[in-house]
Structure formats: C-alpha cells, structure tokens
Symmetry: C2
Subunit: 333 residues, 2 copies
C-alpha cells in the first residue's frame, strides 16, 4: 500500500510530519511518498526503506482562499498529492493543510462518489467510554436535508468499519430531545432518517455527545464545527487551569505527582489525535485531513487511519450502500 503525505501542511510542518511518517514506516508494512519542497525536506529526512520524496515547489497556507489557491498552485504539495491519488499512483492522500483547499482540490480533481451531493469532513471524537463520528464538521455550511441524510448513511458505513460497530446508532444533532424541536433543517431531516433503514436513535443534544450516546452524529457543517471546536476549547481550558492550580504550592505539586498516571489516562482518553484525522467522506478516493496542529503522534495515527480506510475498502462500501438505497435518496430530493 502506498500513502502520499503532504509534508508542508499544518502548523508543525515539515518537521513533525516527517517524524510521524518515520514512525509509521517503522510500524506498518506500507510505502510513503512525502510530497513537498525537496530542498527543505532534505534537511530533515533520513534515507529509509519505503520512503520516497516527490518534489513540489509551492505550499498552500491556511490564510489563502481555498478555491483560488488550489486552482492556481498546481505545484503545491497539496495539489501534487491529490494529482497522484487521482492517477492511482497512491492509495490514499493525507494532509494537515488548508481544509477548504483540500476539499476543493479533491472535489475538482478526484470527484464525488456517485449519488453523494456534498462530501463531509468526518472526525472521530473521543467520548466518555468510546468514540463518536461527527459529520459534517465544517466543510458544508447551509446544508439541505438531503445532505444530512447522506452524511448519516456515509457515517454509518464508516462507523461499521472504523469503530467496529455492527449496527451503528445514528443521531441527529438537535437542540432538544423531542421530535418537533430544532430548526427548519432538522425538522425535515428527522423524517428522512426515521424512514430509512438506518439505526436512528433520534435527536442528540450537545450535552450528550461527549457522553457518547450515538456512534454517528449528523449535522450541518457550521454546527458541527461549532460543536467540535467548543469541545476542544473547553477541554483545553480545563487542562490549562489544572496545570496552573497544580503548580500552586508544595502540596498540590506532591498531589500532582501522585495522580500523574490518572491525569495521563484522562488526557489519553480525551485526546482527538489518538483517532488520527478526518476523512473527506464522499470523495471517490481516500483523502484524509489531519488536524492543523498535528504533531508526530497525530500524523502517525492519521496514517494508521488512512491504512485502515484503504484496507477496509470504506469507499466501495459507501458506494454500494448508496447504490442500494438510491431510490430512497431520489425520493428524498
């Protein structure tokens, strides 16, 4: 299996990307093609079995307008990586760079799975006793009901393969538990999912997500991003407060040593980087977005995730599922 990795995307590129790649090569039986500015990469990269560098002179930054950037910068690491995946030179492409550009580039050059109107960004969130797939997490704003229905279908297949759940529990994100709650969008989506073959558990509220009541939660991308980032921000602030408080005096410092293992367990449990990145579900080939702040471990886990997505043939399974229920989707439009 060959995975192309964007060496230049993300806050800690290229150093941490390379570290993650090297660790993945040590752990898995795969080949990795690092795409990026060869001159810069040569400073850090050691020769290694299974590792190839493909030169790309440009970089797309996070501040560039995504669509314009991916169209203009044909020689960027991201555009070159997408092109390699398009030509089947690799089995998957991974980038921690500009999310919008990655989505736009994948859409233009690789295309959508037939029957999917808008692909979704689908991260896995850590929960109290497991994990939940949230989609869309930010790629699609102003969604239509059919989009959320399709997200739910793709999420269900992805949860079967990635979370190893037989009949994933599908929740519709809403601001109340009752069927009639919500906005115009959720009221319409509710019936679509309820009348489908999916294992629909109804509305899921913000408070319930972290408790892991559903395997998959579907929502508009604006809302999904709000949820994801609010959860991240809260966890991060609590962790900052804890660090501050535990440094206050000799007793708290001693206490901190005694509970070090306990805190480490919690951090590990709530750490999104444990699950890798977020695939762009609905794109015809495996494209994975790693978090912009990914370091070695997150990149390593995202590569493992890309490998699983290829091995499990997630995309063919989504394709088959969409074909099976094509009539449901047409009827819903």
């Amino acid at each position: 299996m060959k995975i192309a990795v964007d060496a230049m995307g993300g806050d800690y590129a290229p150093r941490e990307i390379i570290k993650g790649v090297e660790k993945a090569l040590d752990s898995f039986d795969i080949e990795i093609i690092l795409v990026g500015n060869k001159e810069q990469l040569d400073k850090y990269v050691r020769e290694k079995d299974g590792l190839t560098i493909v030169h790309a002179k440009d970089v797309i930054t996070n501040n560039e307008p995504p669509v314009a950037a991916i169209r203009k910068k044909k020689d960027s690491s991201m555009a070159v990586g997408i092109e390699m995946l398009k030509r089947d030179e690799v089995d998957a492409f991974l980038s921690a760079g500009n999310t919008g550009a990655l989505m736009a580039g994948s859409l233009f050059n690789i295309g959508r799975i037939k029957g999917i109107d808008r692909p979704a960004l689908a991260p896995i969130l850590p929960t109290l006793n497991g994990a939940t797939i949230l989609l869309d997490a930010g790629s699609n704003t102003d969604c239509k009901p059919i989009n959320l229905f399709q997200f739910a279908i793709m999420g269900s297949v992805y949860a079967q393969k990635m979370l190893n759940v037989d009949n994933p529990k599908i929740g519709l994100f809403n601001i109340g538990a009752e069927e009639e709650k919500g906005n115009e969008l959720t009221k319409q989506v509710y019936d679509l999912i309820k009348n489908s073959h999916l294992n629909f558990i109804g509305n899921v509220e913000g408070r319930d997500i972290a408790y892991g009541v559903a395997d998959v939660v579907t929502c508009d991308g604006f809302v999904g991003n709000a949820i994801l980032k609010s959860m991240e921000g809260t966890a991060s602030v609590i962790s900052s407060l804890l660090k501050q408080e535990l440094q206050k005096n000799i007793f708290t410092k001693l206490g901190a040593m005694l509970i070090y293992g306990a805190l480490k367990n919690i951090v590990k449990k709530m750490d999104y980087t444990e699950y890798g990145g977020a695939p762009l579900l609905g794109i015809k080939k495996p494209v994975i977005k790693a978090h912009g702040s990914s370091k070695e471990k997150a990149i390593f886990n995202a590569i493992r995730q890309a490998k699983t997505i290829v091995e499990m043939d997630v995309i063919s399974h989504i394709q088959r599922e969409i074909e099976l229920i094509g009539d449901d989707i047409s009827a819903a439009k």
Copy 2:
C-alpha cells in the same frame, strides 16, 4: 424590590428553589413572592420576613409543547408569575422551568422592547479568566442577519452592566477567523456589526470562546445552544473521568486529598451556576431563566442577578440604545 420566583419549575423544584430563595432573603434587602402550589409549598416553606406565597394550582412541565402549555395553563406558576410582572406587582420574574413556555409567555403577555424583533436567551459562560455573554443560546432558530445584529447590541449593553466592562468586545461566532468565512447568515451579519458603533473584534471560533477572547458572542440560537451544551457536556465528562481516576488506588486517593482545594477552584471557575441564569433580553421587563438543573446555589445566584438587572436598569439602557441607533437598524432590514 420585589422578585417573583416560579417555585415549581426545574428538575429540583420546589425544594431547591425554596432553599435558594431563603438564602437570597438572608443575604439581600429584597422581597420574594414564591409562586406555586400552596399545599406543596407549605410542606417546605418556613415563615420568613419578606417571603410571600402566591398560589398557582398548575405546573408547566418540560415535556409540554411550550406555546400550547402557556396559552392553556393560565393557573400555572409560570403564567401567574408572568402576569404579576406584567401588572407591575413585581420588578422581575425568575423561573427554572420550560424555556420555550417562558419565552412565549413573556412575548405574549409582556411584549418586546420596541425595535427588537426577537428577544434572546443570554447566559453568561465562565471562561479561562472571566466570563462571556453568549446570545442567542437557544430561543431563536433560523435567525436573520438583523436578529444577530440586535443580539449584539443588547449583549453589549448587558455586558457593560453585568460584567462591568466599559466598551465590551463583540464577537461574531463563526467557523473561521477570516471575514469571508462562514455561512450565508454570518457573511451578512459581519458587515452589519462592522459598520456599527459596536466594538467589533470580528469572528470568534468555538475554540476561542472558552478562552474568553470576547465579552459578547452573537450567534443563531441553534448554534448558540450547540456551543453551550457541548461545552457543558465536555466539562461534565472530564469531571466524571477525574472522579473515576482519582478513586483508583491509595496513591490517587491521597493525591486527590492534596489537590482538593485546587480542584475546587477549577470547579468554581468553570461553574455556570456562579453567574446565575440567563435573562430573556429584548423582553420589556426583566425575565430570567435559571438552568433546569438549578439547585440552591444556582437559584441564589439567579436571584442576585435579577436584582442587579433591576438595579442597573438594564432594560431602559437597552431601550435607549435601540432608540439611538434606530436608523442603523431600519437601514439594515
């Protein structure tokens, strides 16, 4: 000053409501009218200076459709409390009951401040080093740009009075920092706020809210509720994990004792009940919604908050602000 309190609303009514009321009477120079089923209340209420009971035989539960419930149940504690405020028999009304019914009843019977199209639920969120007002937090879904602009104006006045900030920093909730990011709604709101006299700091992302980058964050109620509940859920899950982990063995238990004060500080800092409830900003008189899970302390703090809103004359200040910039608002429509 007289404050009416719904004795029957919320998960811990009437016992915890009464406890909070008693504590408030011991602490502040106010009168409180407890509205509820007299027979039930007599079991718990001791005679006390400043405390009166007004009988209301019905209760509106959280599971009832809000509009129908408030229309039908004229003898409910909530409807009676709203009626008392309407007739100026009290200066403010507080309830931990059905949010939708409270908003509908307040709208129908008390009405909106002139120039405000949709009142907003405006809780104060604890942040890393202070607090942020988030509005709307769930009363208004499918908002128009003018609604979010009005929320921002009301939030600014409220922050001046409640958070004691001279020129509150106003943020627009969005899923990216750049001006062109977001959905159809935010793109239009951005210019409205930017061109106003408000101290606009631009887009604020989910991750930034908990860090307290803005004094006021304006958003659609569906999104606001998603943010609020996701933050609550995350904090609650982390706290559960911490409790679990600290009970694991003799060392963690000892450690837990040593850091007890530190943990208490964090809990206090992140505790939304410290700030009381959320006023329905835009209603012509002070109506305050306390969290459904309010216990003694939350009710006590919500009463203190009601008192401050009355003393600071928040509503007249909002009225004046809206009159001053009436032309801006008309132009924006």
